[in-house]
Subunit: 346 residues, 2 copies
Amino acid sequence: MGLTDAKSVKHGIRAVAARAGVSTASVSRALNNPDAVSPSLRVRIEQAIDALGYIPHAPARILSSRRSRTLGAIVPTIDNTMFARGIASLQHYLSSVGYMLFLTTSGYDLDVELQQARNLISRGVDGLVLRGDCHHEGLRKLLADNAVPFINVGIYQPDRPYPCVGTDNEAGAHRAAAHVIELGHRRIGIVSALQRNNDRASARVAGFRRALTESGLELRSQWHVEVPYTLDDAREAARYLLGLKDRPTAVVCGNDVIAYGVLLEAERSGFSVPRDLSVVGFDDLDWSRHLRPSLTTIYVPTGETWQRAGEYLVRSLAGEQTIMHREIDFSLVVRESTAPPPKSLK
Amino acid sequence: MGLTDAKSVKHGIRAVAARAGVSTASVSRALNNPDAVSPSLRVRIEQAIDALGYIPHAPARILSSRRSRTLGAIVPTIDNTMFARGIASLQHYLSSVGYMLFLTTSGYDLDVELQQARNLISRGVDGLVLRGDCHHEGLRKLLADNAVPFINVGIYQPDRPYPCVGTDNEAGAHRAAAHVIELGHRRIGIVSALQRNNDRASARVAGFRRALTESGLELRSQWHVEVPYTLDDAREAARYLLGLKDRPTAVVCGNDVIAYGVLLEAERSGFSVPRDLSVVGFDDLDWSRHLRPSLTTIYVPTGETWQRAGEYLVRSLAGEQTIMHREIDFSLVVRESTAPPPKSLK
DNA sequence: TGCATATCTGAAAACGGTTACAAACTAGAC
DNA sequence: GTCTAGTTTGTAACCGTTTTCAGATATGCA
């Protein structure tokens, strides 16, 4: 245990340097760019590192290098299979390339989202992953002022000047509605998620509507209900729709959770799906194929979407060329919950 | 636009200080402890701050103060309603007290967990929230060496020297099994989660077993199956159990997801629940009350549990007195999936 | 008014790394 | 043996805050 200098250091890179008999610069290099240091030094430094159990101090590193190798993500809520999946996938990818993820939630509140963005920027994130393109106007300014790269995920808007990756929700919804129209349905109800501050939800409603209009079908206003993201609310909506004198024979839903609610409530109220009522979801969560009857829905590769978002930012930060607008394909998955309408109601 | 000094600064606390005509020390104080600065200075500083759109640089702050107001959490996976709930609740609480959460996942791998802990410590977290008390042996040393406070969540082990908060899983499982025993079942199967590296799962199995033993019932080894956390695996287990010549009349499950799988598979195979088979879950996730038949299960206040974990760490860090072992009560929720066994099989 | 005491404020040294720059080597060519 | 170019290493300034310490200013009281 050799004395080093007058003032010996206990922790940190200086302690490692002292123990290995090199300068802090070399230790730093050995850590960040091993090839920049000769093999002999490298092993000496590595020995010193694990002899001391040295753990680099990320904040100091960030301060000094102005890069954190950390991305931030702001999602409405984590308590939702869709986002949980996406985040899990993003996190998995990021850790594979040596990045970390700072995750925060906004609760569908744009002010909170802005605040969280400030928070994340303060934390020194290198880039930001945002849900959709519906943000507080201060957010764009904040991102621009601080030169923080970002990407909107879960939507596809090639005409907008912001990077995004996701499926074309309008087209997906159109496909879903077209499916029940092809089956012969003429009275089609919509149970959508709340459209306020949710461009994904609105795009889907737009797609549903366009399909109906193109087929010359009317969408009565009482056949369109908006509900929050819970099974209970969806069930209530179903109860209302099925209670109408002139009820729809098919219901297209803004997402799978809503569809589950509609399906459960229909069955509980004595309607048989798909004999009496057809139901279509959107997202294709796990439950969709397990439920009885299983749910016809639009499959969306959520994991891939979020991973691509991560790739976009990591590549941009590395100075590589990247695609600004990337579309992720959806597909219609036909299962048991849809069938032609009953003769009597046709 | 007054020139300040020879070298004028664009960003950072110095820019604010220059603009407000004060020292950086005062700006820092105005930010961290507003009462320590006179009202007149405070307003001048606040004006300068939002005139410049100044955002404090957290890493610098952490480096200098050696506190990050950030907690780390390592969960097996985020893609699981239980954890998603817990995390959401923890995050909500933390943000209410000005803390942030760094979330990482281990995928049920103790080595990865250790690595993530190192990662989080490197990031400068003030404390760590861990799942259960089943960790890599290097983890305890790491935590001790770096003096990082932590808490094991989701379990209750008053006899261990580590802080924890959670329900008594053994007792909960005992209650679940006792319920079907009270209903008259004598042939009781167990479908548990994988016990390896999962003390929660093992405690539940222990509880099931104790209940059986106390009632003088035998647990045949072929009536106990372990499955990963997916609906598909649980369904397969159910298929196996129900295919046995001498099948159980009731199945107690390690968690709700497993119970869903058993329930779905039973119904799909033509068994009626609870007439032909009783099923009990554990956790009481959302789906349990929506499913048909709804699921009898053990309610666990996950949100409260994780929030308490956060409270424990925040309070400890503030130097307050805290309770090291906190038990969170569970309760049995009887719904439609349990009933006395069929006469013929009694 | 003078003095002790409490309250505010500022100068400057950390905090633990990275990195520009310079110095010291090394190897190859003449 | 000298010179050049290339490689490896070290020195020290800097990243943007907090915080100690001391000086300045205000307050209370005799």
